[in-house]
Symmetry: D2
């Protein structure tokens, strides 16, 4: 309560708390009165209480997410993509490929390289969200088919972005993992709809989302029945402009404490510079990431999308070799 809150205001809040089926415990301090509340506060809109006269502030004690919380489920969630490919277990999940699906030759070269280097999951966008309406928006369903066919030929699983509720059925048919992009992390109806499927969802952190909001976005998927959520840290927006985003790598061990869900890191979109991809991939694995989502393009110069952040197949292959001792040092393998 505010310093000069009257007795009637305090009483009014106490009554409001009781009405919500919670137990109020008023604490009369030296300068202020605090009304502690016992009970599950999650279903309560804190804005309701904070609008009452004389209230200074409402401070939530419980984390607002439940299904995503490690307090609810202790053991790590491991997501099984079939054929022995898993995300969240001892083996680090490498997801690699071009930003956008462009054509058969590009996909074939990329898939061969990804497979050869030892990755098991191929990425590639068929629907691209673009800041400018004048940019390439992806091949759509044709791109999906191309991704799926190429990946199958090489025994790779696939992850691809779904932008629009109307495309969920089609993407579900062709891909192994739905990707929800950073711009859609709070597109709640899209979360709800992928939550109604059983397919694993790779959920990218919104570029200005807190970790709490990130886990609440996962909760939106999980409350609809789909617990197969893979979190993806891809950098947040800060004042720094030398890198495309700021890779908040401490999110990895933090999420490991707060949640049982696996978390992967995207070193490509977070830095926007190919020269930073290798060191940040190493760092991500050292920090405990369960996987990596990385842009690999056979010919970045000719890429139709974000070519300036992709690494070449040779660089990826070299990186995979260099990652091994780091993975082992933290009790993982590749």
């Amino acid at each position: 309560m505010r310093k000069f809150a009257g007795k009637d205001q305090i009483e009014h809040v106490i009554q409001a708390v009781i009405k919500l089926d919670l137990k109020p415990v008023p604490l009369y301090g030296v300068e202020r009165t605090v009304i502690a509340v016992i009970g599950d506060e999650r279903p309560v809109d804190e804005h309701h209480i904070s609008s009452l006269p004389g209230v200074d502030r409402v401070m939530a004690v419980l984390d607002p997410y439940k299904l995503a919380s490690r307090e609810t489920k202790h053991e790590d969630t491991i997501i099984d993509l079939g054929d022995g490919v898993k995300v969240g277990g001892k083996k680090i999940a490498m997801m690699a490929g071009p930003c956008a699906v462009e054509n058969e030759a590009q996909m074939e070269t990329a898939a061969k390289a990804v497979k050869k280097a030892g990755a098991e999951i191929m990425r590639g966008g068929a629907f691209k969200p673009r800041t400018s309406p004048y940019s390439f928006e992806g091949l759509g369903t044709d791109g999906l088919k191309l991704l799926s066919q190429t990946a199958k030929r090489h025994g790779l699983k696939t992850v691809t972005e779904v932008l629009d509720i109307r495309d969920i059925g089609t993407v579900d048919k062709y891909a192994d993992i739905f990707q929800i992009g950073a711009r859609n992390m709070q597109n709640f109806n899209l979360l709800k709809e992928v939550g109604k499927t059983k397919k694993p969802v790779l959920l990218k952190r919104g570029m200005s989302s807190t970790v709490k909001e990130f886990l609440l976005a996962a909760e939106h998927i999980m409350t609809n029945g789909n617990s197969n959520v893979i979190l993806c840290e891809r950098g947040i927006r800060t004042f720094e402009t030398e890198t495309r985003n700021t890779l908040a790598l401490a999110t990895v061990p933090l999420i490991k404490e707060l949640s049982h869900l696996p978390i992967v890191v995207d070193p490509s979109h977070s830095t926007g510079k190919p020269s930073l991809v290798a060191p940040m991939t190493k760092a991500a694995i050292a920090a405990g990431a369960d996987g990596i989502l990385v842009d690999v393009h056979p010919n970045p110069e000719e890429a139709l999308c974000d070519g300036d952040q992709a690494i070449r197949p040779e660089a990826f292959e070299k990186l995979m070799i260099e990652l091994k001792p780091i993975a082992e040092a933290v009790g993982r393998n590749l």
Copy 2:
């Protein structure tokens, strides 16, 4: 180019620029070579050029938006809602009402108050995007109908949020202005679809969007044929936690320079505190805003959504009176 870029790298970039139908002008400086480019760079993906070997950085000269730019259209856009209600003209457009449509009594009291105070447009959400899956999500179509009927009874126009492509038809039927919320500012398919209608769109700035991205989001609507875009500054996310968001009010005169589109300010969601609504509304009008979108609730204590940021009808009526001399001081009226 980088400091130690070789001649062949420079030549390679020059050829790449020519291929894009642009004219390269190499400038050989003391420390570096710069390749100036003449022509319309908008359709070009700058990531393509920046991925070429030896390139240090690509710096765009032209603004990436065209239809939204004041360079393209000099005079202010005025949006006509019919019955003499306009946004962008001399008269400041006041949009007021509750955060969420709750029930008939609430709407009736709110509409009466809004009308009496002199506002012409009523706000009220039927579809609510909620950070937590455990919060009230709105009455849906029933809410739309209630908003529309109440507003009509009082001779008010309406603005309400559309969250989902599947609801565009219904919202189009019942509301006078589509609202695109901050979380959907880069939901490009939603922008595209409202762009295919003729109905005015109130586009809220994303909470971590730059002014450039904000205008590019408007461009997404405009390139689809709908030029009736009203921009809305509603605060950005910063490190400050005392207010819900940080109201970046300088955006108002800045947008006035860059664009011909009208811009309104939301003092409720940007500050999150009812006590800051009156001073920030005054400030917004003094800064040149074309309108205000404000939460007014007959009984904030009982509100199902964001009650702690709504002002009461009496406070709104008082504010409208206090705004008059400020509006006049900047050559406007209410």
Copy 3:
């Protein structure tokens, strides 16, 4: 406490609280135990408590500042500069002049213009903090003398930045208000030393400081005996790059609630664009600011520092006229 904190951990925290002469009140909830604490928590280092085993989080209830708080002193502080010039009263304090003192002719023209337009306080930097070591750093003591002489000749008071503890004596001799720049807002020894004088201090908000830290910086000055603190909102650093900083104007009414100290706004450094100075000055006054600190330069093109954000004398004179009705509308005068 954490969800699975043991009884011994809870008891350990209770004992630690007692040792600090505070009264613990354990609240046993459904999921967690919360230990409420009664007493003045300000002298306690919360990091101490949060380091105890089993502690999840420490949430402070009291504001950490005391002397700067409106709860401590209800009435507005009015700072008297002598000769009828005050900051914080009904009359809005206009502080205008060039960013840097350059030469006699510049200062004379500027002073004449400032006086003629109706301002009572002249600004001008003699010691300039510069991001690059290759920039102009000010005239030093010669600049101080020039500022002081010119201002006196025109019956103006002066405000100028002090950067270095070693210059406090000299600046004290020549200026009427010490300015502490944004980069020094947490230079605690500098705050302490100006706190030992009786001279008014204009304290600029650090570019990434919260409002709480801003008031704590004022507290550093006040605990040393000097209560004559004028706060200055000058924009914070955000991801937006179109303006130099983001002017967080809601800070003005917020500070008015939290503190009794006067607050002024700097529309020049916060926006970095002369075209935004007039609208943001109007907005600042409409929001309740007690004064304005604005860059006015007789010839911005020839300015040695920040010429691109200064307005010309004619623009300042015009602005002063336009501000009158806005000041009156909020119960102030110029």
Copy 4:
């Protein structure tokens, strides 16, 4: 130039550039005229040019720092502290110890632990910058002596913060490395004065400083004659509140590209959580850091400062062992 800039405005800018001894190259584009400039732009105040009528924007091509740039000096700078202890070479420099020097017993236990684990440099603050004036401010000169004596006894080098120009002489006498804290990164006079000594300086990144400003702060030290600068990434301020700051780890490989100076990482202040220290230390080394600055306290519960972020000696010892294979994987040793 702006789109509608006149011929005389263009000519005026061309003349202004010539006056600055630079060579203008006007490029007449489809929509705008761009005036390219050849020559060293560093000594030029870009605000001067941007204040000229008709100018839209000035875009700098050269990096503003010179001495700190890798373009100026190719090979890595290695800083020699004597007795075989170096920062920037193959061996990773571990700097460990308590946040604040408190008493002899604490220092003795800490030093023993630090030494035993294999670190060579001891940290410990004698002068503490504190946000609140009511917090412990350090033991001052007594603390310095205690740090120095204890470290010598155990054959350790020392690093400690200098806050005040008046303390430089004393700190110089007792410590091996000056630490400049984040809040003082732009205290230019302090930088200048430590720049006049020959002692190595550990410069912490300001909490809202860009990488460019960080390197310019180093440049302030270097232009005064001291090239022994060690950069320290310690997290930046963002909207995220779950961690104390956001550790921007990509700064490490980025700085390695831009500068020849060594860079170390502070996992304690950047995260504020002891449980995140080990994973982020591993990540920092995997990313290529030259050293680590970590809070180690024999009894965090009794720490007078930031106890909640310190790790215990046992945890530090374990961490040192776990770091070995990661250091080796990136071609370094401990």
